[in-house]
């Protein structure tokens, strides 16, 4: 290197400096809320609708005058599903943007990478990922709004028992969502009296799953298949099962609560059973159902604005923001510790995923009845009735 290159290096280095961020005084200007979603990349199924929802809801709140007379400012970061970016962005949001709280990330892997970071820096994190480890062991500042995997697993097992099913095959994808669900299905099998005969993991980019399903078919005694994933392979499982004549009932996880997947599987999806929050069957809710109003208004606004179906994953972002807004109102201002305590005191808050009741020991807030067993009938999601 010669001196000129060194000068260039210096120039390049200087240009790297981001413009000094304005350290907004804590009691004027908009209240900053950070969001880390995987808008692109392998987890974009989760992150893209969540980011859209968050933007939509913040705009709506601001148009209605904000919270306690102050506007909200959403600082959205696209992590593309990589943990190192999630860490980098979380540090940015904590140290330089000094946001009130962070919502997201969409995947449990990313959430776990920043869980300790948020706890150390006393930053409120409201995760939109499902895995149980996010809130167990409990961290004071970490909450989650996605329903618990264990609740979904219990509901699946109980529905099976109603049908006299005792022996199952478990399939899951090799991403965080699949791995967390697989663990719950394994852990709960004994307590619920189920026996797992085949337990296989497939690649999240799988193009065909006939071989794994052949393995299931060759195992005598399998009465049902449970598939736990969030990726398009969910449709492939349904199709391949019917193609090779594996005619046992198919149960899916709440990852299937996305109309696209049912559409892609076509007639093969008919009769598929899966637990999901009521947002996907909003039309069917009775008018006096507590969730009716929230679910319908979210659905209408989202579908009108983005011209696509709502999914439960966008709903998680909606709920996360709702929780923060509710706590802000209760705390009276953006004092982080007060807001944190206010979140722990939230009772009976109606969101898209269910009714939230947080406490100092329960940072999930949702109970088993947040889920409804759904089935596919004529290509549409409908509440499953025995």
């Amino acid at each position: 290197m010669n001196p000129l290159t060194a000068i260039l290096t210096l120039g390049l280095g200087l240009s790297l400096l981001a413009p000094a961020s304005s350290l907004a005084a804590a009691n004027s200007g908009p209240i900053k809320i950070g969001a880390i979603f995987s808008v692109t990349g392998p987890a974009s199924f989760l992150g893209a609708p969540a980011a859209k929802t968050a933007k939509m809801l913040v705009d709506k709140i601001n148009n209605e005058g904000g919270v306690n007379g102050r506007k909200l400012q959403l600082i959205l970061k696209d992590s593309a599903g990589s943990p190192e970016k999630a860490v980098s962005f979380a540090k940015q949001l904590i140290e330089e943007e000094q946001v009130l709280a962070i919502i997201g990330p969409s995947t449990s892997g990313e959430t776990m990478q920043i869980k300790a970071l948020c706890e150390e820096n006393q930053m409120i994190l409201i995760s939109c990922a499902a895995a149980e480890v996010i809130v167990n062991p409990l961290a004071k500042h970490v909450f989650k709004v996605a329903p618990k995997d264990s609740h979904a697993a219990v509901l699946i097992y109980r529905t099976m028992k109603d049908h006299g099913i005792r022996k199952v095959a478990v399939l899951s994808s090799n991403d965080g969502f699949g791995a967390a669900g697989k663990k719950q299905l394994e852990d709960l099998a004994k307590a619920e009296g189920m026996e797992i005969l085949v337990n296989e993991v497939y690649d999240k980019q799988a193009t065909d799953l006939t071989d794994i399903l052949t393995k299931v078919k060759s195992q005598p005694g399998v009465q049902a298949v449970v598939n736990w994933s969030i990726v398009p392979a969910q449709s492939i499982v349904a199709k391949n099962m019917r193609q090779i004549g594996l005619n046992v009932p198919l149960y899916q996880s709440h990852g299937f609560a996305n109309r696209k997947y049912a559409e892609q599987a076509g007639v093969a999806a008919e009769g598929t059973l899966f637990p999901a929050s009521r947002i996907v069957v909003g039309d069917e809710l009775a008018d006096d159902h507590p969730q009716k109003r929230v679910v319908t208004s979210y659905k209408q606004e989202y579908e009108k604005l983005f011209n696509e179906d709502v999914s439960t994953f966008g709903g998680h972002a909606y709920d996360a923001l709702l929780v923060i807004v509710e706590a802000l109102k209760k705390a009276g201002g953006p004092d982080r510790e007060k807001v944190r305590q206010a979140i722990e005191g939230i009772q009976g808050l109606v969101g898209t995923a269910g009714v939230f009741n947080f406490s100092a020991t329960d940072h999930t807030g949702l109970s088993l009845d947040a889920f409804e067993m759904i089935t596919v009938k004529n290509g549409k999601f409908t509440v499953y009735r025995k």
Partner: protein, 365 residues
């Protein structure tokens, strides 16, 4: 030529150190020191690219699997320093290891007593494992050429990443978090804690400078000349009596070490690692960064890869991050295959009225 002669050999390094210090001072003055976090991360990533500069730019061997070495380093460290070995604690081996400070007892975040491997021991284990894997894969692979070598290294990277995702020991898709700080010596500690931010920036700077110095000396030695010969005409180099196979393997090993070293430091700095680090996209990205920096230009690749990774980690381009990266790659390779620094430097020199050095003309286009 005369200009080059007059520069004392250490001047570029001193200048670079000067740039690093003034950057930090500037950030301190403007209250933007939080940018150091991403700068530190980018510096660690640059170490991987430096290794590739040596392997691809100087020895002419392509590797589409270096993300795997980064991951092997990072994961070995992460697993050993977070896994609870208390089952070993009562055995005589465990006691012996504890006396040797290989295993250390401490409390985890929830107050449970755990026994983990010390970061230094884990670091040594990581380098050892890297050596083993690099020799195992490098020995047969480096007998291949061009596209076959590319395929072999790509396949190797994929195998590593699938093993990491498939195994519960490595945390499957979630990866590993809660990796403890690494006390290097005295009060020097590799950690992501805000209080140690400046210190960690200088640790990364020092590491990068030291490696640059070592690599520069290596390239100016007999080994460097041999590598150049291999790069230009392997058959001729062989005929000259250069043991090309041995040299290629050595450089491959060295570049694997650099990647693993970066992985270990990075993992302690961010406190965790995920399987995407071993993925094909990451490996390809390193190669692309090396190409964008001018491949054989050690300073070029370091500066360009630090700058591009920094922009990406700061989230400058939001959801367009990959698109911008792809476009930059195409533009640089199309317009300035020697890297952007060379033509820029030549242009500056012309502006400043200095005589154009003939060395650029010597570079093959």
């Amino acid at each position: 030529m005369n200009l080059m002669r007059r520069i004392p050999p250490l001047l570029p390094f001193l200048l670079c150190a000067g740039v690093m210090v003034s950057l930090q001072q500037l950030m301190r003055a403007t209250g933007t020191q939080y940018c150091l976090t991403q700068l530190t991360m980018s510096l660690y990533y640059a170490i991987v690219v430096m290794g590739l500069c040596l392997l691809m730019g100087h020895a002419g061997q392509v590797s589409l699997g270096h993300g795997a070495f980064f991951a092997i380093g990072g994961y070995t460290s992460a697993v050993l320093t977070t896994h609870n070995f208390s089952a070993w604690g009562h055995s005589s081996l465990g006691g012996w290891l504890q006396q040797g400070r290989v295993l250390i007892a401490k409390e985890d975040v929830f107050g449970n007593a755990i026994l983990t491997v010390s970061p230094w021991a884990a670091f040594l284990a990581a380098m050892l494992l890297t050596t083993l894997v690099a020799l195992l894969i490098g020995y047969p692979a480096l007998r291949l050429r061009g596209h076959y070598l590319a395929m072999a290294t790509l396949g190797f990277g994929l195998i590593v990443s699938k093993l990491l995702v498939g195994s519960t020991l490595t945390g499957a898709a979630d990866g590993i978090n809660g990796v403890p700080p690494w006390p290097l010596a005295g009060s020097l500690t590799v950690t992501g804690k805000t209080a140690a931010r400046v210190q960690n920036y200088y640790i990364a700077c020092a590491l990068v400078l030291l490696l640059l110095l070592l690599l520069r000396n290596l390239l100016r030695s007999r080994i460097g000349r041999a590598l150049q010969a291999i790069h230009d005409r392997e058959t001729a180099a062989n005929a000259m009596g250069i043991n090309t196979a041995a040299y290629k393997l050595k450089v491959f090993l060295l570049s694997a070490w650099l990647a693993a070293l970066a992985g270990v430091f990075f993992t302690h700095f961010t406190g965790g690692i995920g399987p995407s680090e071993a993925g094909a996209f990451k490996s390809v990205r390193y190669v692309a960064l090396a190409a964008a920096g001018g491949m054989a230009n050690l300073w070029g690749v370091t500066v360009v890869s630090t700058a591009l990774n920094y922009a990406s980690l700061r989230g400058w381009f939001g959801s367009l991050d990959n698109a911008v990266f792809g476009i930059l790659l195409i533009v640089i390779i199309t317009l300035a295959p020697q890297g952007p620094l060379k033509p820029l430097g030549a242009w500056l020199r012309r502006i400043l009225g200095l005589r154009n050095l003939s060395e650029e003309r010597l570079e093959r286009s």
